[in-house]
Amino acid sequence: MADTHPEGAGTGAPAPFDLSQFYQIFFDEAAENLEQMEHMLLHVDLANANDEQLNAIFRCAHSIKGGAATFGFTDIAELTHHMESLLDRVRRRELSLSPDLVDVLLDAADLSRELLTRHQEGETSEPPSTAALVRRISELVTGSLRTSGTEAGAVAAFAVQGVHSALEPALGKGTSLPLRRLALRIGPMQTAEAADEVADLLCSMPNMVQLDELPVLQANVRALVLETHLTDDELRDLLAFHLSDEQLGIDQEEIIASADSAMHSEAGESQPSELMGDEFFGLFSGAPGLPVELLVEPEVSATNIVPQGKPTGGFEHKMSSASQVEAATIRVAVNKVDQLINLVGELVITQAMLAQNSRDLDSRLHQQLLSGLADLERNTRELQESVMSIRMIPMSVVFNRFPRMLRDLAFKCGKNVELVTQGESTELDKSMVEKITDPLMHLVRNSCDHGIETPAERVAVGKPEHGTITLSAAHQGGSIMIEVHDDGRGLSREKILRKARERGIPVTDDMSDQDVWALAFEPGFSTAEVVTDISGRGVGMDVVKRSIAALGGSVEIDSAEGYGTRISVRLPLTLAIMDGMSVAVGDEVYILPLSTVVESFQVSADHVNTVAQGTPLVKVRDEFMPVVALDKLFDVPRSVAALARHADIMVVVEVEDNRVALRVDELLGQHQVVVKNLETNYRKIPNVSGATILGDGSVALILDATAIVRRARSTRSLARDLGELV
C-alpha cells in the first residue's frame, strides 16, 4: 500500500473565503456562455460543422458546468453535465448535430438560464424541474445508439450511466460503493476486434481501473482484472447495449477498500498515472517540475494500462485564429460608467462656462490663459467622446436574440423564414440598446406573422418557399438606422383604407402611399386579418412608434404589395448628449433638439394669420403650418426689443412628418448639450423633455418637440387643406 494522504489537511476545512463574492462573475459568465452556445447552435451548419465549432459549443456547456460545480449550484451543474455529455459525443462525431439535438440543447440552455436566474434572485421561487429534459437528452443519446455502431452504443450507455458516477465526485459527494476487484470475461463476441473494443471501452470509464489482462483460449473473448466502485448491475447496464448478459461474465470479486478510502485511491499498485496524492489533488511522481526531494523515479509498473499513442492523440489541439477575443476587456458596473458620464457632463459645463467668461478677455494680455482654455476645450471634447464610447455596444447584442425567437415563431406559424442580419458591429448606446429591443422584436414578429406568406402561398405566387427577413443597422450621420425588411406580401392599401374608414379615420382614395402606411401607426390599428396568439398581445404599432419616439427616434414604413415591407427606425446615437439649438424667448433660453429643426426664418407679423378656432397659421412656401408661440406656451413675457421689431422669428420643427413653426425672440446658436433628466431631479413638466446647464451656469429647458408638435397637430389637417386650396 502506498502512503496515505495526510488526513484533514484541508479536506474538511472550510474554504478560507466567501464564494459568494464570485457569484456575480459566474452568473454573467454563464449567461454569456449560454448566449454564445445558443448563437453557435443556431448558426452552425448542421451537416458540415467543423471540429472547431463543435469544440467551442462543447466548451460553453463545459465552462458552465465547471463554474456551477465550483460555486455549489448543483442543479445547473447536473443539467449542464448532461448537455456536456451529449456535446462531447457530438464533437467526437459519435452523434451528428441533428435539428432534434439542437432543439433539446436550446431547451436545456433555456432551462439553465431559468435556474441561473433563480439562484441569482436568491432562490425564492420554486425550482423548475429538470427531470423531463434530462430524460429527453438521455433518450436522444440512447435512441441514437440502437442505430449507430456498437462502440458508439457503449459509449452512449456510459454517457447516460456515467453521469452520476462522473458528476458526484465532481460535486464532492463521493460514492458510497466499496472498491471491488473483479475478474471479468467479455465475449464471445463476433470478432476479436469487437472484443478488443469493448475491453478498451470498459477500461476507459471513470472509476474503472484495469489491473491485468488474463489469457483466454478464444480470440473473440477477453478476460480482465479490474477495480471499480460499480455494482454488477451497474456494470451490466453500462454494457447492456453492447453485450448480452451471457457475454459478460463476472467471475470473482474481492472487496479491497471501503468507499471512503477508495476516494483516496490508496490501492498503491493500482495508480496508473502514479499520482502522488488523492484522486483529486495530485502530483505525478517523477514528473518535470517537482522539487528534488519529490523527484523519485517512476516505477514502471505492469499495471500501467493505458494504450500508448491512442489517448494522447485525441487531445491534439488545433489552433484557431477565429476564436473569440476576450483578452482586452474588463467588466465594469454600469453605474460606474454612468457616474463617469455625469462627471464628464459637469466638466463639459464647466468648460463651457470658462469659455463664456473668458470670451471678452483681451487676447494679448491673456494669451496663455486663452490657449490653455482652447486646449481644455479640445481635451474635454475628446474625453467626452471616449467616455461615451464606453457605453457603446454593438447591435449584435440585440440581433443575436432574433434567430432564436424567429426560429420558434416561424415554426409556430408554419412558415419558412430565413433571417439575414447586416451591420451587427454598428454601435449604439447601451441604454438605447435595452430600450430598442422590444420594439424591434415586435417589428420582426409582425414581419413573420403578417408579412411572410406560408410556403404554399409563396410558391403559388412564384416566390421561393423561404421567406427572408433582413435586419440591418447602419450609421447615418449622427443617428443610427435600423431596418426590418421582409419579402412577404406587403401592406395592402385597400385593406388599410377600408379599416381606417371602419374606424372613422378620415381618408381619401388618392392619399399618398406614405400617408396610407402611416395609418398603421394609429392606435388599435392592426393589419392582421386574424389576431393570433403571437400578435394579439395588446402591443400595436402605435406603441412601437411611441417607444421609438420616446428615444428621440422616428419610424417609417415603406411597402409594395406582393413584394414586401421595409420598416426603418432612426435613432440618435445616445440619450445623454444631444445636439441642440438654443433659442431665446424673453429672458429665458430654451434648447431645441437639432434633429427636429428644419429651418428658421423671419416673417413680418402680418404673415401670421389667425383662422377659426384661434390657431395662428403661417404660410411657408405655399404651405400653411401652425404657429406655436413659445412665450405663450411657457408664459414668458417677451422682450421689448422683440415686440418692437414688428417681425417674428420662426423655427420650423418637424416630427413624424408634421411641421410646426415655433415663434421665438432670438436664435442663440447650436451646441452639444448634456441632457439631465428633469423627472428624477425635479418633476415632469409638459412640453419639456429634460434640462441642461449652460455655460453661464444657468439651467435651460430642453423642449419636447414631439409633444409640442402633437399638441398643434389637431390643426395639422386643417392647415394642409388650406395649403391645397392656395
Binding site: A9, G277, L283, T312
Partner: protein, 120 residues
C-alpha cells in the same frame, strides 16, 4: 514573491484562483487561454503554471507540451486544474510533461498545499 501563471478561460474561475493565490502571498499573472499563456510566459518570470484543460485556441495539455519544449520551462512546475478526472486525461497530462493533476472544484487550502509542496 514567486510568480504563478494562472490560465483559465472562465473569468470566474480565474478570479477565484487568482484570489486564492494572491491571498497566499503569490504574485499572479492571469492568462485567458493556452495561447495567451504562452505569450505571457515569454515576457514574465514564471515560477509555476496552473492551467485549465479545456480552453479555446490552446488547451492545458497543449500548453504544457509547448512550454516543455522551451528551455526556460523545462523544469517549471506545471499543474493542470480541470474538471476532467478520467485516467486517460491524466495520462495524457503526464505524457505532455505536467507536474500534477488537480481536479475541480478545488479546495483553496489543498491547492495552496500542493503548490507549496512543489514551490519549496
Amino acid at each position: 514573491m514567486p510568480s504563478i501563471l494562472a490560465v483559465d478561460d472562465s473569468p470566474s474561475m480565474r478570479k477565484m484562483v487568482s484570489f486564492t493565490l494572491t491571498g497566499a502571498g503569490y504574485h499572479v499573472v492571469e492568462a485567458v487561454d493556452g495561447q495567451d499563456a504562452l505569450e505571457k510566459a515569454e515576457g514574465h518570470d514564471i515560477d509555476l503554471v496552473l492551467a485549465d484543460q479545456n480552453m479555446p485556441r490552446l488547451d492545458g495539455i497543449g500548453l504544457t507540451r509547448k512550454l516543455r519544449e522551451h528551455p526556460k520551462f523545462k523544469t517549471t512546475p506545471i499543474l493542470i486544474l480541470t474538471t476532467e478526472s478520467s485516467e486517460q486525461m491524466k495520462q495524457a497530462g503526464r505524457a505532455a510533461g505536467a507536474t500534477g493533476w488537480l481536479v475541480k472544484p478545488f479546495d483553496p487550502n489543498r491547492l495552496i498545499e500542493v503548490i507549496q509542496k512543489v514551490l519549496r
